[in-house]
Symmetry: C2
């Protein structure tokens, strides 16, 4: 089958979507349920409806756009990703899976395909944990991994509850109604940039993802007496930033010592209060991210970090609180879908390799309700979550064609 | 001479002033040129005028309230302090020197004293570096230590220039006109809480300050490639928070290793950008405060910190910028004024000791234009720059009486 992917249209739509941002270009920031996020959603729904898709928005704001198949009674295929963007990030993370998914559907339509199964394109709400310190809100609720009550009471930095925020943003109905029925989808396939350097280094067009790393997030807080930076002698100090700094170094060391390059550990947030040059810190809070494709190995690293976090607080003599934000199991791709992706690469004459995803995606939670797999494309220097994030039109075109061919195979 | 200090009136005024705050009580936050700061200034001017003082406000917003002496042609005596407050601080730092100075003048008035020299009560603008990362703006400009052009171009976190901010706040005229003429003041005496534990531990009422520590502030910035917390393997990382954490520990160690308990080193600000749990830090900035009563010893500690700051950046392979924000010389009190303070303690039957100030005060810059000294009173547990900051009415009463007696001696 000949497929003509209009990558220029998709690139133009990616550029347009990037203009919905709360920071100056080329940086992008689109945080869930902000006016900017809502405006971007409006743009996406226009595009979906223009392609003849029937749009449904669920109570958490997931957008589900359906291309009706020849036999609507069959469980549908699903594809998609997210369009929210962390502060000062780029324009390809997630968006390539949504707008590329749309382009894959339009490509099949334009080739005259009438699939037997319906195909649904999903834009998942808040894959990024930016606002509620909790990633993949949309897919966690679709899969039932996150209880509606637990979701409702998540709060943002301003202390606003998720349930109030989503309703004020216009997403009504019961969060309990988000959960999908068993067998709702036949399969889910997500197209995404690699967010790592391996495909580019190997000079390959496509990565067929066989497993997704298990992410865990931890919050550690140290509280000290503080005081005036001039007035309190060193011998009298218990500065929580000392414990916090030791912990930041420990997280790095623990990940490097795991014995596998698949383990990563990051301190992405380190907040100092009251944050004044002449004031000894009184409150230091770290948010720590640890991932691995091997759950038990990740948990051994987490245990070392938690143990040392407590030790550093005890040695300093300050109160220490350690809180697990989340700890999800790894996911394994469905061999049939991976095989379909590989056949699509062969049909499209594109090079590929099997690989794992160290980053964390909505596919991780969709794996709880249906077979899944992911299609990776290279991104420049493996960069992501920064303004310089880039995938070439050629790389995106290849991803769209492989996604289209994979959906075609699975839909028959 | 009998002096009746109305400490209850002063305590009530301290409580009222603390209500001008941008954070919930008991915490206080009053940042220069905010509406809250301007409202507090209005309250002070009312009090000063009610005491019969002639109020002048200079172009940087210093409030100078004059009690005319019998011989107005003589250089005046000055006393005073500041009323700005860093985020989440307390209600005694600085304010005791302003409202206690007012109470000392009212006490002398009530005792029927008519001093030969005029006495001026000064409320200095922005002793705290909170907004413009530069402390003692008012006294630096009064003394000529800070050039008007350099002051005008200081910017706050929002990028607003000091010159625009102060004019929008209603402080017009040329910054060049703030500088005092040589011989303008005969002497300056500042009443202040100790902000350290020594007087309380020794069970003494008064500290006669013989020297003020030399403060220095340093800004260090590390910039790395950042990236996705899941996507970038440890071996490919150059995380600037690693260098920042090592530097925070080094600042603490360098101060402790100086050989003197009079050396203190603090990292009060450590900012992480973009500050997302799943994003590797791309930009880490530290603000470092180092103080000592011995300038050369302080500078040796600073040199070690600067050298190591560069080493940590080089070892990580990330760009490093090191910027001195300020480095002021220590100040020595005038022996005549210190002797007058000690005689006042004897006359008032109050215990005292000579001591140094590790914290940094407007007196440091006033020492460039006239003889100075400071009067310290104990504060509970040596705490300052936090909501629990506290000095008892009895401690404040003692400080006011010693200040009043000292001004009386020096005014004759």
């Amino acid at each position: 089958m000949e497929l003509k992917v209009d990558v220029n249209r998709c690139s133009a739509e990616l550029d347009r979507l990037a203009q919905f941002s709360d920071v100056p270009a080329p940086a992008v920031q689109r945080v869930v349920f902000t006016p900017t996020d809502l405006a971007a959603r409006g743009y996406l729904i226009e595009l979906f409806e223009a392609a003849g898709l029937r749009v449904r928005v669920d109570p958490i704001g997931n957008i589900l756009a359906r291309w009706e198949g020849a036999d609507p009674s069959l469980p549908a295929l699903a594809t998609g990703s997210h369009t929210d963007a962390i502060p000062y990030s780029g324009k390809y993370d997630g968006t390539v899976g949504v707008l590329g998914g749309l382009e894959a559907i339009r490509t099949l339509q334009q080739a005259g395909v009438k699939p037997r199964r319906s195909i649904e394109l999903i834009m998942f709400t808040s894959e990024e944990p930016t606002r509620f310190a909790y990633g993949c809100l949309g897919s966690r609720l679709l899969s039932g991994q996150l209880a509606p009550d637990a979701a409702a009471t998540l709060t943002d930095a301003d202390g606003q509850r998720l349930d109030a925020v989503r309703q004020n943003a216009g997403f009504k109905g019961l969060l309990a109604d988000v959960k999908l029925q068993p067998g709702h989808y036949a399969a889910f396939v997500e197209l995404h940039i690699e967010q790592g350097p391996l495909l580019e280094r190997a000079g390959l067009a496509i990565g067929a993802v066989t497993a997704i790393a298990a992410p865990a997030a931890l919050r550690v807080r140290y509280t000290g007496p503080g005081g005036h930076a001039g007035g309190v002698m060193m011998a009298d100090r218990r500065d929580p930033l000392i414990a916090g700094s030791r912990l930041a170094l420990e997280v790095d060391a623990a990940a490097r010592d795991s014995g596998s390059p698949d383990t990563v550990g990051t301190v992405g947030v380190l907040d100092v209060h009251p944050r004044a040059v002449n004031s000894i810190p009184r409150d230091v809070q770290l948010e720590i991210d640890v991932r691995d494709i091997d759950g038990p190995r990740r948990d051994r690293v987490l245990e070392r970090i938690k143990r040392q976090a407590q030790t550093f607080g005890d040695e300093l003599g300050v109160p220490t609180t350690i809180e697990m934000i989340n700890a999800d199991p790894p996911a394994t791709s469905d061999p049939t879908i991976v095989a379909a992706i590989e056949k699509s690469c062969a049909d499209a004459k594109l090079t590929h390799q099997r690989m794992v995803s160290r980053a964390y995606h909505d596919s991780l939670f969709m794996s709880l309700v249906c077979p899944i797999a992911m299609i990776f494309i290279p991104c420049r220097d493996g960069m992501s979550h920064r303004p310089e994030e880039y995938s070439s039109p050629e790389a995106i075109r290849a991803g769209i064609e492989v996604l289209a061919r994979t959906l075609y195979q699975l839909a028959e």
